[in-house]
Amino acid sequence: MAGVAAGLAEHLGVGTTVTRWAFVISGLLGPGLVLYVWLWLTVPSADPAAPPPALARLAPVLRDKERRSPLLLAAAGVVLLALAGLVGATAAGANVPWQWLVPVLALLGGLILAWSQLEYVDAESRRGPVSWMRLIGALALVVLGSALLISQGRGPSSLFMALVAGLAVLAGVALVLAPWWLRLINALGDERAATAREAERADIAAHLHDSVLQTLALIRNQASDEASVRRLARAQERELREWLYQDRAPSGLSLATALKDIAAEVEDLTDAEIGVVVAGDHPPTGPAAALIGATREGLLNAVRHGAPPVSLYAEIGADRAEVFIKDRGPGFDLNQVPADRLGVRESILGRVRRQGGSAEVVSAPGQGTEIRLKLTLTGKEGL
């Protein structure tokens, strides 16, 4: 029902049908139901074979510990099945030494429950309230079990005495061991911080090696080719800056990033420099692709026919986007561009207009050129 049968089948490596029938049969006898609920509460719902994502990278060492969990669960299953069998036996009239069995079982159950939480110790600070509750429950079970075992059914007062004595001893031991324990925890924390620092350093070194040092080597090789040196330096600068100021959304999810990427691509293609300013952001839905395409053509056009500085400004609101591409070229009169010149007319203006947006080129001789594109992002017209 709650996936317990399937989970157990997975652990024990038997068919789901087998475990289901086992539950049904033992459930009819009584304890199966209890067992089912207990497993439902305690077994983590995720696939135990898959390491948690954060640990995946460091997997080989830690995975061995992960494996302990199925073993423990199997042991728990065996113990509980045995219990079920014993209950059945009592029902059938056999003489079972309950005064021994109950405390021993409580002890065992507590231990299993506590150990099953061991794996969480490795995953830092991932100990949720459920895990704590399990740990406390396990402790209570163990204490109760020991107390029962010692008092051996000599009445509630001696049970109480045993409990108090046990707790007193525990408290004493804890008091003695606390300083050591604290120091151990501190040392562990320091070591972890050191490891994290070391990993970060290695990460930075690896990145610098792959990017900056490679580029510097390339630049040294091509020192005579001024254009390619400039291009390499700029591409590297852009890449490094992005890496340093990691405020970048993935390009599939962000129109702003997509436009920046397009500008970078045009820079690489044409060896020009483009000042990019983007305000706001929006997922690149529907007609955004047309806007990105038109921006690319517009930038290429500005770089080829205009003069630097070329600047791109995009303002992306909640439902619309505006793109302005400006250059300081000689400017031209759009009416004098022959109708068969597809560049500006089709690939820039037409593309945006077909998506229901507005597009215009503002230019006058001597004043540069500005391409203005405006598009509603939510509209589905034209799709």
Partner: protein, 216 residues
């Protein structure tokens, strides 16, 4: 303008300082240089320049970089013009809020830089397109948030938005003035007003941003 403006260069790269000095030397009087926070504060106190060209990233002090230098003078003293390789506006806003009158990137040409220094010395503000874009973003202009009377500091007027938008689009002050049919002086007034808002506003985007960088 018969006397040359007296300028101090603050940048931790000596190479950059000598390059800038060579470029600006003809039109400006470079009276001092510094490569770190303490040195900068000391030099500025000693030579009392008109304008300080201030790199955003500087060693020394309490790690605050250029912002720390500007903050040391707390609005009095020289005018600061921030200069940075990074156009990550986030870096720059720290210096602006510490009192700088403007911000330009190091890719700026010598003549533009001279003009910007002159503008700052005259008490006006200098905005780069990147900074204008950041302002539009931070003040919610992109989502169409226009100033109402009670939170004057926290949002831009419609006119200020227009000016910022044109600057972000790469227009010069002169082109902005032409486009909006106003005088250059009016453009400068609008930009200075935006600068003041950027320095004083408690808009949540700005405060959140400042908190993240331990500037509060």
């Amino acid at each position: 303008m018969n006397a040359k403006l007296r300028v101090v260069l603050v940048d931790d790269h000596a190479l950059f300082r000598s390059g800038t000095k060579a470029e600006l030397g003809a039109s400006l009087d470079i009276v001092g240089e510094a490569g770190g926070v303490e040195e900068a504060v000391e030099v500025i106190r000693r030579v009392q320049p008109d304008v300080v060209l201030l790199d955003v990233h500087l060693p020394g002090g309490h790690g605050g970089g250029g912002a720390e230098v500007a903050a040391a003078f707390g609005g009095s003293g020289p005018k600061f013009l921030a200069l940075s390789v990074s156009d990550a506006a986030g870096d720059v806003v720290a210096v602006i809020r510490a009192g700088a009158r403007g911000y330009v990137t190091k890719t700026i040409t010598a003549s533009e830089l001279t003009e910007a220094i002159g503008r700052v010395a005259g008490g006006d503000a200098v905005f780069s397109p990147g900074l204008a874009g950041f302002v539009l973003d931070a003040f919610g202009a992109v989502s169409g948030d226009v100033a109402v009377a009670d939170d004057e500091l926290d949002s831009l007027t419609a006119r200020e938005q227009e000016v910022m938008r044109l600057i972000a689009r790469g227009y010069t002050y002169r082109e902005v003035a032409g486009e909006l049919f106003i005088s250059i002086k009016t453009v400068e007034t609008h930009v200075s007003a935006v600068l003041r808002k950027l320095q004083l506003s408690n808009r949540s985007e700005l405060t959140r941003w400042a908190a993240r960088r331990n500037l509060l």
